[in-house]
């Protein structure tokens, strides 16, 4: 059982390899009915590490990261997040969801609440923060994602890029230790992708542990400590971005990369 990652030579300064891993997936398996969607997934993410997950659609990338905060349940294997093992125990679930923030492909902002209310909802009800404090915190993060002036508008009045930045701010307001990104730029128009990626780069620079499902290869090269390639429910290849993109070992990755490049 060699699931834990060996100390890596190429890691950014923020990665703490001495500490226990932030996320550990150990032989995780999942089925939808009879369809085997996750097959023996082993993945260990160190604290402060930035991992980019890529792969063709239907390869199980989203399912994998949705298992990490238990939006989906795995059926075999173990998932340990921040030293807490995911189980049916609701307390462990609550604890993990406080520590793990998530950003969705389709933003999923609450349309009936203002931007500010979207951001303060969870701090108030889950973190039990006084409203004033939660609002100050939210404004702080909205300023960091560069949209403080939109605080009193409703999600429907914002552009897609702005909405996604609000979604990032909303997740950050819970002060998570880990952030999951599920194709955050796939639903955006090209001119808006950059503003969201910039926000994510800025976040990466703060030393946040991140797992990001994305096809943005530029982003992967810029910030990822490691790229994981998934296909048909299994991790086929992983490594630092340069090595993986320039010297793919498997046919599957080669095919995938050529398709991606052609697409761009």
């Amino acid at each position: 059982m060699s699931a834990t990652m060996e100390p890596a030579a190429h890691v950014s300064s923020a990665v703490r390899t001495d500490a226990p891993p932030a996320i550990l997936l150990d032989k995780v398996n999942k089925w939808y009915g009879a369809l085997h969607v996750l097959r023996d997934i082993n993945l260990s993410v160190a604290q402060g590490e930035r991992v980019v997950v890529c792969g063709p659609s239907g390869s199980g990338k989203s399912t994998m990261i949705r298992c990490i905060n238990r939006l989906e349940q795995h059926q075999e294997g173990r998932i340990i997040v921040d030293n807490i093992e995911l189980s049916d125990d609701l307390r462990s679930l609550d604890a993990i969801r406080r520590e793990v923030g998530m950003v969705f492909q389709s933003f999923n902002l609450f349309p009936h609440l203002t931007i500010l209310e979207n951001c303060t909802l969870a701090p108030i009800w889950v973190r039990r923060m006084p409203k004033k404090e939660a609002e100050a915190l939210a404004m702080d993060y909205l300023t960091r994602v560069k949209i403080p002036e939109q605080a009193n508008k409703y999600p429907g009045q914002l552009s897609g890029g702005q909405q996604q930045r609000v979604a990032i701010a909303r997740a950050l307001c819970m002060k998570p230790k880990i952030m999951l990104f599920d194709e955050p730029t796939s639903a955006l128009d090209p001119e808006m992708i950059k503003e969201v990626l910039d926000t994510m780069v800025m976040l990466a620079d703060t030393g946040m542990t991140m797992i990001c499902v994305t096809h943005e290869m530029g982003f992967a090269r810029q910030v990822a400590d490691r790229v994981v390639f998934m296909d048909r429910g299994e991790i086929v290849e992983s490594g630092v971005p340069e090595q993986l993109f320039n010297d793919p070992k498997t046919e599957r990755l080669k095919t995938f990369l050529s398709q991606i490049l052609r697409g761009h």
Binding site: S2, A3, T4, M5, E6, P7, A8, A9, H10, N29, W31, G33, A34, L35, H36, R39, I41, N42, L43, S44, Q75, E76, R226, V228, R232, G233, E234, I235, V236, E237, S238, G239, V240, Q243, K249, T250, E251, R252
Partner: protein, 384 residues
């Protein structure tokens, strides 16, 4: 770098040797797994399943006892008088289907001459055939209107008779299921064109026409159908010039048409509104006039959009024709209610109502299933 490439989650089978997908653990598929996730997923769910299961089995056994085991299917008739003592002796422990056996002709055809019952029976079949043809997409063409006109004319001919050697049967003697079908089918056939005009009127830019249509729709929708039927039965005679009298069935039919048109108009208006503006603009840009634009571009699309709610409105109208019972018109429900007025059969209402319910259910269920299927199909097209 090499270390990371050789890390545990890295590819062991470098040469793309795809590991065959494993089967899920035994408890994830199959009937056991199904039952576990859908019936016994938690203790609460288990308790609900057991309690409901018990109630259903008990109720079903009670129903089978009542409807089949203890039921009486026919009783002897002496001197034209049904001997219902056996039924009464059951004291409610079993159904007395004998009342249905005895009265089924009456319920289906009312007081139509007995030896001529084949005529309304044929009409019922014609109606059903008409519904089936209308439900098939292949026939959604202009010819469908001709088929409707032809069939309805044929039905009128069969019911009245008086030509081709058919004896004349006055309208007062019609009754039963065929009246229900006549009221609903003629009601829909005439209300539909009217509703399209009203819906177009309500979206018109001409204020007077718009106001008239709004007034009509909102007034009709604000009052119960009964009040319109009362109006038809007691006020219509006052409306017409002295000496002219139209029969009760026709008056009720007019009330039903006016009522149905108001509801249908709202459904059609929904379709007109749902159609993207671009369609109107494209038609205008092509230089089509109002009626060309409406007939060729707007209506064909708008009506298609609202077929499921239209069918639901039809179901509602079909059920609502039973209200003519209150003004004494002899439809299916009235016939059933009249059947148990006879002293021998008094108190066997439940059997009669269950039977009538079954007839209504068959018609409405078929329509609602059809509408659901169509909706799913149309949504699929929209997704693509």
């Amino acid at each position: 770098m090499a270390e990371i490439a050789a890390e545990a989650s890295a590819p062991r089978p470098l040469q793309d040797a795809v590991i065959g997908p494993r089967r899920p653990p035994l408890l994830a598929v199959g009937p056991v797994a199904w039952a576990k996730t859908n019936l016994f997923s938690s203790w609460l769910s288990t308790a609900v399943t057991l309690a409901l299961g018990y109630l259903i089995i008990r109720w079903a056994m009670g129903f089978i006892d009542w409807a089949f085991v203890n039921a009486i299917w026919s009783v002897p008739v002496t001197n034209g008088q049904a001997q219902t003592q056996a039924c009464r002796a059951l004291n409610g422990t079993g159904a007395c289907w004998a009342v249905v056996t005895e009265k089924h002709r009456f319920m289906l055809f009312g007081t139509y001459p007995y030896e001529e019952h084949w005529r309304p029976a044929l009409c019922v079949l014609l109606f059903i055939g008409l519904y089936i043809v209308s439900a098939m997409r292949r026939f959604w063409r202009k010819e469908l209107a001709l088929i409707w006109i032809g069939t309805l004319a044929l039905i009128g001919l069969l019911m009245w008779g008086g030509v081709f050697g058919l004896s004349y049967v006055p309208q007062e003697r019609w009754g039963g299921l065929v009246i229900t079908l006549i009221l609903s089918t003629f009601g829909i056939a005439l209300a539909f064109p009217l509703s399209i005009l009203v819906a177009l009127g309500r979206r018109s830019r001409l204020p007077a026409i718009k106001t008239l249509c709004i007034l009509y729709v909102e007034l009709i929708r604000g009052v119960p159908l009964i009040s319109l039927l009362f109006m038809a039965s007691v006020m219509f005679p006052l409306f017409l010039p002295e000496g002219i009298n139209i029969d009760k069935l026709l008056r009720a039919q007019v009330a039903i048409i006016l009522f149905a048109a108001a509801y249908l108009a709202e459904v059609v208006r929904g379709g007109l509104q749902a159609l993207p503006r671009g369609q109107y603009e494209a038609a205008d840009a092509l230089g089509l006039g109002f009626w060309q634009k409406t007939g060729f571009i707007i209506l064909p699309q708008a009506l298609r959009l609202v077929i499921p709610p239209l069918v639901n409105t039809f179901i509602g109208m079909f059920k609502d024709t039973s209200l003519v019972l209150i003004i004494g018109i002899f439809d299916l429900l009235t016939a059933g209610k009249t059947a148990i007025v006879e002293p021998a059969w008094q108190g066997f209402g439940i059997e009669i109502y269950v039977t009538i319910g079954l007839i209504y259910f068959i018609f409405c269920f078929a329509m609602s299933r059809y509408s659901q299927g169509l909706e799913a199909e149309l949504n699929q097209h929209r997704v693509r």
